[in-house]
Amino acid sequence: MTRNTQPLSLRVPEPSGRPGDAPDFSHLKLDAAGALDRPAIDARPVQMLDLAFRLIRVLDDEGNALGAWNPRLDAETLKKGLKAMILTRAFDDRMHRAHRQGKTSFYMKCTGEEAIAVAQGMILSREDMGFPTYRQQGLLIARGYPLVDMMNQIYSNASDPIKGRQLPIMYSAKDYGFFTISGNLGTQVPQAVGWAMASAYKGDDKIAIAWIGDGATAEGDFHNALTFASVYRAPVILNVVNNQWAISSFQGIAGGMETTFASKAIGYGLPALRVDGNDFLAVWAATQWAEERARSNQGATVIELFTYRGAPHSTSDDPSRYRPGDEHEKWPLGDPIARLKQHLIALGEWSEEQQAEAEAEAVAQVRAAGKESEAIGTLGQSRPSVKTMFEEVYATEDWRLTEQRREVGV
């Protein structure tokens, strides 16, 4: 046996900055907007390897849309997207505050990640099934799901669509193509593949879209999903939202230190796109590419959406204990709302006044929904009938549940 010249040592990845440090993003290699080619949708994964390691960007620092990935959206679509992002942020702000006021037990914001769910929710239809995590609320908002129903769920009140059974934000909205959220990370991704397989089996024209965070890619379900998607050529879009943080663990702990999350698709024979997740146009274009590929029966695409989790992980989290306090402000890819606003202004289709107006309108819309929902009741003030606790465990109640329900006196 050959002896080591030095003893072995264990590497444990550490982020570039901890509390008190100045944020350091010098290790990021960011491509310029418009730098990358857009392959044909039938390109083989090995023909587009660079797209797994570089970064598809459309909007430059001045708000100009550049290059082959520019989806050339009309101004109305851009405005619709911008307004949905603004509304999502206003909703988050109010519900985060509602938690501080004791009106609910829990909340999770998606600050900084609004472009992802909003753009993707707009591209796919309600008939396609989305398998979201707990941070794609923009999908519901972009599709016009009633804010008051979201709030009713968050307050577990008498009008909660899922009857007070689930932790706040674990929405379920079948009619809006929004699959029931589970607290168990990663589980929904192979389910999305199965849903897509079912659509293909039936000769349907619907596709599935799933999301997973950078941290949860370490779950076995991610591997299972990629294997099955590849083997059965399932019509599904598999998104990895890399927001750099899984609660307190930076993305290096999930396996992002030596490679990109997009690149993980390559070993499975799936095409990979790595995209500026704060660039509404780039997210749109990449998703549209993957959608066309899936709809034309060419199978799944993995998209890594490179972004930054601006807010605490949840209302139970304090990020100042594990990352530099101003890291989000220094994030080199900026803010998705500010960047789309700048683009619309550069196009001559928007103004600061219209932005202020849209923001005020969003706040008013959220406030109106809040009043309506709070009139029904906040947590502990109102709830569905206790009888419903025993319902829908099965299609029909069995004798145990009947007995236990009677024991509770309902």
């Binding site: 899922i162 689930q166 299972n224 099955f228 299609a395």
Partner: protein, 337 residues
């Protein structure tokens, strides 16, 4: 038919009737399954209806859950129940809770079939009986047949059920009944009335137990292979036992159990799974709660030992008729240990 043919027949009949029924699993497609339960499904119904999967129990159950949410009725095979654990999160956290957590918007009408149980020198990972890990989970149904007729009827009912069903098949009974007298030659199914299986469709309702032997001295609660062992044990003890084949563990046919124990005043529970926190504990508690004033002796439990399933000690581990007989004699004499 033997049990394999009966299960296979159930799948053929349902797949012919309902295009939303699919069957898949490891080696379950072209090859027809390592136990032949899915034989000829692919050849008859097509490649996209009965196919092989990657060796990923979690992945194939997850895919089934997604298909179920879409509106299909997938029947998946886990090659051995000992290998169901990688899928446990998907079964417990997802399939079981989907209807409840979505307020009825999404359901999981899937069947997870899996050969289980010992008595075949299967050692640690080809012999386990994990039923209590599923009976403990709200939202799951757990079904275990003990003969070919029930196997087909219960599988058909499970496929038609709107809830997720864990369908455990006693592989020791695939080719013939087994009463635990392991030194005797095994007889084939064809000698048994329950091997007379109609070729067309029928169901055995989920949630109904069967009284397989009427008796007046003691009630035996059992399922799977232990039904046959219990019958042999009663005969060996010379006790007039009423033997109840539960057939469905969840939902449980409590009325049949209660009526029987109130009649006999004694109860012995028999299962292969380890004793501690086995389903027998639940059965014992229910009988105690509901029949306390009718009981003339402590409830007896005959179960696998609280050890991993051994290889060389197959017949010391497997609860055979002699252990059942001893338990019956004990409850007949007041439960002295």
């Amino acid at each position: 038919m033997n049990m394999i043919q009966a299960l296979n027949s159930a799948l053929h009949v349902k797949m012919a009737e309902d295009p939303n029924v699919l069957s898949f699993g490891e080696d379950a497609g072209y090859f027809g399954g390592v136990f032949r339960v899915t034989d000829q499904l692919q050849q008859k119904h097509g490649l996209t209806r009965s196919f092989d999967t990657p060796i990923s129990e979690c992945g194939l159950v997850a895919a089934a859950i997604g298909m179920g949410a879409y509106g299909l009725r997938p029947v998946v095979e886990i090659q051995f129940a000992d290998y169901i654990y990688p899928a446990y999160d998907q079964i417990v956290s997802e399939a079981a809770k989907m209807r409840y957590r979505s307020g009825g918007q999404f359901t999981s009408p899937i069947v997870v079939r899996s050969p289980y149980g010992g008595g075949i020198f299967g050692g640690q990972t080809h012999s386990q009986s994990p039923e209590s890990l599923f009976t403990h989970i709200a939202g799951l149904k757990v079904v275990i047949p003990s003969n070919p007729y029930d196997a087909k009827g219960l599988l058909t009912a499970s496929i038609e059920d709107g809830d997720p069903v864990i369908f455990l098949e006693p592989k020791r009974l695939y080719n013939g009944p087994f009463d635990g007298w392991h030194q005797k030659p095994v007889s084939p199914w064809k000698a048994q009335p329950s091997a007379q299986v109609p070729t067309g469709k029928y169901t055995v309702p989920i949630g109904e137990a069967a009284v397989v032997r009427e008796g007046s001295d003691v009630t035996i609660l059992c399922y799977g292979t232990m039904v046959w062992v219990s019958l042999a044990g009663a005969e060996h003890a010379g006790v007039d036992a009423e033997v109840i084949d539960l057939r469905t563990l969840v939902p449980l046919d409590i009325a049949t159990i209660e009526a029987s124990v109130k009649k006999t005043g004694r109860c012995v529970i028999v299962h292969e799974a380890p004793k501690t926190s086995g389903y027998g504990a639940e059965l014992s508690a229910l009988v105690q709660e509901r029949c306390f004033y009718h009981l003339e002796a402590p409830i007896g439990r005959v179960a696998g030992w609280d050890t991993p399933y051994p290889h060389a000690f197959e017949w010391e581990y497997f609860p055979g008729p002699e252990r059942v007989a001893a338990a019956l004699k004990a409850v007949m004499t007041g439960g002295a240990r």
